[in-house]
């Protein structure tokens, strides 16, 4: 039975899809980043629960910027998915095209967020609510920005002909981060824009 323990079959070499250590690393990163946002949202609800005055202090936030922003971010996740599936089939053009649309959508989201920041009647230091609002959405915008850098690098690397049907772990791993940014926004959005309408 000496050789029963040994597997004499071909094994994938290097970063292959979910065989890549980076895939596991990204999942772990998403877990800890998800925890960070959970603590941010905890802080919001904790302070809200202890508030003596009206919450939010300036009344319920309007939705006419945040709702379109949310939709744009969700669509961006689908285009990122479209791009990633493309490279799995060896279609570089589809990766670059899909990711380019994602970048544009991400930039529009950031612009809308900037508009909303500008539009708010309160500032960073007005109250605990305003501090929370700018910090939590700021954290999220920072994550969108990092996601955009990742996607841009993936486009450059695809342009340099690094990826193909058999090698695209980086694109799949980067896409996970972008989906995370979208999903975590749904929690932030629900906290700041939906919850006040429920109370």
């Amino acid at each position: 039975m000496a050789d029963a323990a040994f597997v004499h079959e071909a094994l994938p070499v290097g970063s292959k899809g979910r065989h890549a250590s980076g895939w596991w690393g990204m999942i772990a990163l998403v877990v800890t980043e998800g925890a960070l946002f959970a603590y941010l949202i905890f802080s919001y609800f904790y302070i809200a629960s202890q508030a003596h005055a009206a919450w939010p202090p300036a009344g319920r936030p309007h939705l006419w910027i945040a709702v379109p922003g949310t939709i744009i971010l969700i669509v961006g996740s689908f285009t990122a998915r479209y791009a990633e599936v493309g490279i799995r089939r060896g279609n570089k053009g589809r990766l670059i095209g899909g990711m380019a649309i994602t970048v544009v959508l991400g930039l529009i989201f950031l612009a809308l967020q900037g508009l909303e920041w500008h539009d708010k009647p309160f500032s960073f230091t007005s109250s605990a609510y305003s501090s929370l609002y700018f910090t939590v959405t700021g954290f999220h915008m920072l994550h969108v920005a990092i996601g955009l850098v990742i996607i841009t690098m993936l486009m450059i690397w695809t342009g340099l002909d690094y990826f193909g049907a058999k090698r695209h772990a980086a694109a799949s791993i980067g896409a996970i981060y972008w989906h995370f940014v979208t999903v975590v926004w749904l929690f932030v959005f629900s906290t700041f824009y939906i919850a006040p309408y429920l109370g």
């Binding site: 596991w24 925890a35 960070l36 605990a128 501090s131 690094y162 090698r167």
Partner: protein, 650 residues
Amino acid sequence: MASTGAFRVPIIARESDSSPTAADLERKWRTPAGLIGWISSVDHKEIGKRYLVTAFLFLIMGGIEAAVMRAQLIRPNQALLSPEAYNQLFTMHGVTMIFLYAMPVLSGFSNYLWPLMLGSRDMAFPRLNAFSYWTFLFAGIFIYASFIVGQAPDAGWFNYVPYTSREYNAGPNIDDYALGMVLFGVSQTVGGVNFIVTLFRTRAPGMSINRVPMMVWGTLTASVGNLFAIPAVSLAFFLLWLDRQFGTHFYDVTGGGQPLLWQHLFWMFGHPWVYAIVLPAMGIVSDALPVFCRRPLVGYTAVALATVTTMILGFGVWVHHMFATGLPPLSLSFFSAASMTIVIPSAVAVFAWIATIWTGRPVNKTAFLFFAGFVFVFVVGGVSGFMTAAVPLDWQLTDTYFIVGHIHYVLIGINVFPVVGGIYYWFPKMTGKLLNETLGRWNFWLMFIGFNVGFFPMHIAGLLGMPRRIYTYPDGMGWNTVNLITSLGAYLFAIGVLLFVINVFRSARFGRIAGPNPWDAPGLEWTTPSPPLSYNFAVIPTIGSRYPLWEDRLEHGPSDSYVERGYLLNRRRETIGTTALDAEPDVVLEMPNDTVAPFIVGLALVGIICGALFHAWWAVVAFVVVTLAGTIVWLWPEARLGQTRDIVRG
């Protein structure tokens, strides 16, 4: 540059460490000499040793701080230290021991030992490993920089607001602590990610999840806990920094904020952290104690499950640090009950160790003394913890020296004793030399007696009403004798630690040659030469049981372990990746070469927090750019690592 093929049937060969193939492997894996080589090294053994040495340096600094405090408290109305200096000392003592020593020292063990125990050639992310060490070192230096300029944090290691709000603590000390802790959090988080992925990816074929050493269970549990816990403290400190520097209102009542938010965030982190800094140490005992009892650990599965259970429960008990803050009785009852349930998994582990000693044939070596001493101290610390889990008693004891006694029994007992015992056990593997046993006896008995003489009376001081964190006390309170005894015991303990340091230096030069397996231990790390070669294993071992080197004398599963024959994987730096639970061969992992990128990115992060500390925003922007650029270079896809599309050759 040679690219990798997409698939390959790995060669299975029989090799020893003296073969030409092994010499070639050594060339591929060795870190070159010189400063650049030193900075670039990604060898887990090198990084592990650095972690250990750095953590011990911090232990000694924290110990000196404690020694000065005990001189101040040795008699009433002592005027050796000003109240301000005393506040800085007790704060830095706590910060040093709990953050800069306790976790990093365990990371040192795990970094050094994991790949050797798991039958791999390195960690899953060698460069991230180097990055974790550098950021830990830089964060430690950053926090200590404030001490050197006489502006150290002075509000205790848990840094409660409003003491630490700008109104009451205007200096840069708290900002330095806050920003340093954010960097430290990065270091420990990436370290944790690395342990988790390493465990699930790079175990030797056949080492299914029920065959990994207990220290691996401990570190895995701590790492998963840290992924969830560390963001809380990083966020707490970041929000505090915003409050202090930009006038936000997270903790400020006048703006609608809540000072208690700090305590919630801090202890949501703090309590899991307590388990993170003890569970790997308990794992050290569960692995090493049985070797000195000449039998396997009693109740492997129960102890592994107890480890995981402790951490899960550890996330639901943070309010027991806040019993005296006026929370509703329902909340207090819940958290009190939850805290008491932790006794159950702890007791499972204690009884497993006792049963192992009882049913084994104990070998009276220094390492055994430290592990057996640990079991005793752990029980005392556990009982005092159980006492303070009861709300009425906690109301009486909180903020007294009873709590100081408890925390030292727990942290010195469950961390320092196993760590020193672990060094006696693995020092021969790391250096090839045995530590001196005669000095070892003196080392143990001085530490053990000094510890109990020094720290047990703290409980009594607490029961006599002595508050913690007072820089002196008047005569006639009835606290003179206990404090005198505590100080003398602490000095005895310090002499014991000093003997340990002397033993390490002396034995590293003059110690007896250890050979590969001086303790006749069962683990995979003992199949390598002492110290191991750069590539760890000439061929990847195949594992057939939990105790590969004791298979000739234990009943075990259907197949044997092989250490001389296995996957060769010698084209580049390569190792095998296996499936997460069953450890079946899954992928040939291409491992990175040495690089300065982790060092550069680590330095850039220090640049960012230095810029933030001094409000030099241009510097923050510049170093963010360096961080991004360094990270992109680091992650640039390489054909050699099998990250780019195939130009099939080689």
